[in-house]
């Protein structure tokens, strides 16, 4: 029912409605991807927007300079983000503790500096314009597929042995190693998977907007929003990121958008409150109260 409604929505809804739904799908894809690495393995990624930006630039460069069709460029965006994740994840995920978190904190600053520097390819600080294309509706379906794909992937992982191993790492990494789990490799796989969604979403968003520049595709605020959505919905669950993305996007769009700084301040407060008061998020509380299965 819901799927059918979402499928026919572009034919019936207003331009604004389609755009808002597109944004919701994007946030579901982003939040779900953050959940894959941070919710499942407990390794906090403070720079996940780096993959969004890497995907946006990969896709945009291929469209603008090599005339790729947008769908192929979007998939290439996922691959590009994955490559960045490999370079960063390989050294940082072999270590335990906060090294990874801080390395990710610096990553988006570094990528922003790099794309600003290599002007020939990226247009530098003045940005990169893409040829005009009226494809909001096809991009709507592509973004919906990305969001669905990330959610489906999360379900597949959580119900698999691979997912169990990841959660073992989260609960006790030493014990996981003692049981013979190759923790570095598992963390790296989870990290690579978590980079694909933002990469594709970034390339799609870039195509939809038609113009990108370094400051707009690497904002720290995007990482913050992803984290808040997952924490609020319930980290380490399948539907938590979806719930968080929809609830917070709606709240943001209709209530908080009028007060930009208060809205960010509120995000900070939500993070603090969730960590201290309900570490399992809304879905976690529902799971316990109504004895729902872990795979929800």
């Amino acid at each position: 029912m819901l799927l059918a409604a979402l499928a026919v929505y572009p034919a019936l809804g207003t331009g604004y409605g389609v755009r808002a739904m597109l944004q919701i799908f994007m946030w579901i894809a982003l939040a779900g991807s953050w959940n894959l690495i941070s919710g499942l393995t407990g390794y906090v990624s403070f720079g996940h927007v780096a993959f969004f930006g890497a995907g946006a630039y990969t896709g945009a460069i291929l469209v603008a300079k090599a005339d790729w069709p947008w769908l192929a460029a979007a998939l290439a965006g996922g691959v590009g983000a994955c490559a960045v994740a490999l370079v960063i994840g390989y050294p940082c995920l072999r270590l335990k503790g906060p090294y990874f978190a801080i390395a990710m904190l610096g990553l988006n600053e570094v990528l922003r500096a790099l794309v600003s520097y290599f002007e020939g390819l990226t247009g530098g600080g003045s940005g990169l314009s893409l040829p005009t294309l009226h494809a909001t509706v096809p991009i709507y379906y592509a973004m919906a597929a990305t969001a669905g794909g990330v959610t489906l992937l999360t379900y597949a992982i959580i119900t698999s042995r691979f997912g169990l191993r990841l959660m073992t790492i989260r609960e006790d990494e030493l014990a996981a190693e003692a049981m013979g789990i190759d923790t570095a490799r598992h963390k790296l796989y989870a990290f690579l998977l978590s980079a694909v969604g933002p990469g594709i979403a970034g390339a799609l968003a870039a195509r939809d907007q038609g113009y990108i520049e370094p400051v707009s595709v690497f904002p720290l605020a995007t990482t913050i929003t992803m984290i808040v959505m997952v924490l609020f919905g319930g980290k380490g669950t399948v539907w938590g990121p979806v719930l968080g993305a929809v609830a917070l996007f709606v709240a943001q769009e209709f209530v908080w958008a009028r007060f930009p700084y208060v809205h960010q301040l509120l995000f900070g407060a939500i993070i603090v409150a969730v960590v201290l008061l309900m570490p399992r998020g809304v879905l976690g509380i529902l799971q316990i109260r109504y004895r729902l299965p872990r795979t929800i």
Binding site: F46, A103, I271
Partner: protein
């Protein structure tokens, strides 16, 4: 781009690097203390530095206080802020998994930055007090950076004397070596945690007060300092306090070198590559994992 590298240029890099490095060392010592004592990486360390810079700015613009005389005042103010943060929020996650403390201090950091944006707006502010540089042989030495170096070296020196000589300093070092043993020996660990967070915030504030004279002040100036401070303690070896001194100097030299030989735009990239390389080659830091 490819200019011939003269000895004078290298000397200039060394001088600027050491001047910048002392500031890094002092600020990073605060982060190292919190990590050593509580095993918490304080993401809000840089935003606390930002609050320090604003405190100095307002003391200067509203009361006409000399920015250098304001350093102790700013440190005292942020000491109180640090103690309050620790007593209200951070103490709850000291024994929780790392995920909790990282996320909590990240939330605090967002809160502080946006409170600053609300209260002080995003306008760039500057404390105009001391500018320019004087020649020293073939080199140019920036005046505000030299004064900042002297202050940073002084504050860091006092901090080390305090850690070595006083009962409280010894209690802090004991707690960072083993909390249980310190507790058994009669150290009030909760109090040590609270005061350490206060001292660490004061060190960040001193950094903020000193760079207030050098760079533009705005609410988002702090985050990069969290990253740089962490890089410094990784270079020096986490939990190794003298290591923070070495790491700070090294970061200062590398950044200045990169700014001169490549371009200032890429100096952060170079610092980042340095972090990744050190993590790959020597994850325990350059001085090893020794505790002091």
């Amino acid at each position: 781009m490819n200019v011939a590298i003269t000895p004078a240029m290298v000397g200039q890099v060394v001088i600027s690097g050491i001047l910048a490095g002392a500031l890094y060392s002092m600020v990073a010592l605060g982060l190292a203390l919190i990590f050593g004592v509580m095993r918490v990486i304080n993401i809000a360390h840089g935003p606390l530095l930002m609050l320090g810079a604003y405190t100095t700015f307002f003391l200067h613009s509203l009361f006409g206080l000399n920015p250098y005389l304001s350093v102790p005042v700013t440190m005292a103010v942020l000491f109180v802020v640090g103690v309050v943060l620790q007593r209200t929020l951070v103490f709850r996650v000291v024994d929780a998994p790392e995920l909790s403390s990282l996320l909590l201090t990240f939330g605090i950091s967002i809160g502080l930055v946006n409170l600053a944006q609300l209260a002080f707006t995003s306008d760039l502010r500057a404390v105009e007090y001391l500018t320019g540089s004087f020649p020293l042989g073939p080199f140019a030495v920036s005046k505000p950076r030299l004064v900042a170096f002297v202050f940073a070296a002084g504050v860091t020196g006092l901090a080390f004397l305090f850690l070595r000589g006083t009962r409280l300093g010894k209690a802090i070092r004991a707690t960072s070596q083993s909390r249980e043993v310190a507790m058994v020996c009669g150290v009030d660990v909760q109090r040590v945690h609270m005061l350490t967070f206060g001292f660490a915030s004061a060190l960040a504030a001193a950094g903020g007060a000193l760079i207030a004279v050098i760079v533009a002040i705005q609410p988002e100036m702090g985050q990069i300092w969290t990253f740089k401070s962490f890089l410094v303690i990784v270079l020096g070896g986490a939990g190794n306090y003298p290591g923070a001194l070495l790491g700070g100097m090294l970061l200062g030299l590398v950044e200045q070198g990169a700014a001169l030989f490549l371009t200032t735009q890429l100096s952060e990239v170079v610092a980042y590559v340095l972090l990744v390389v050190v993590l790959l080659v020597r994850p325990t830091g350059l001085l090893g994992g020794r505790q002091t």
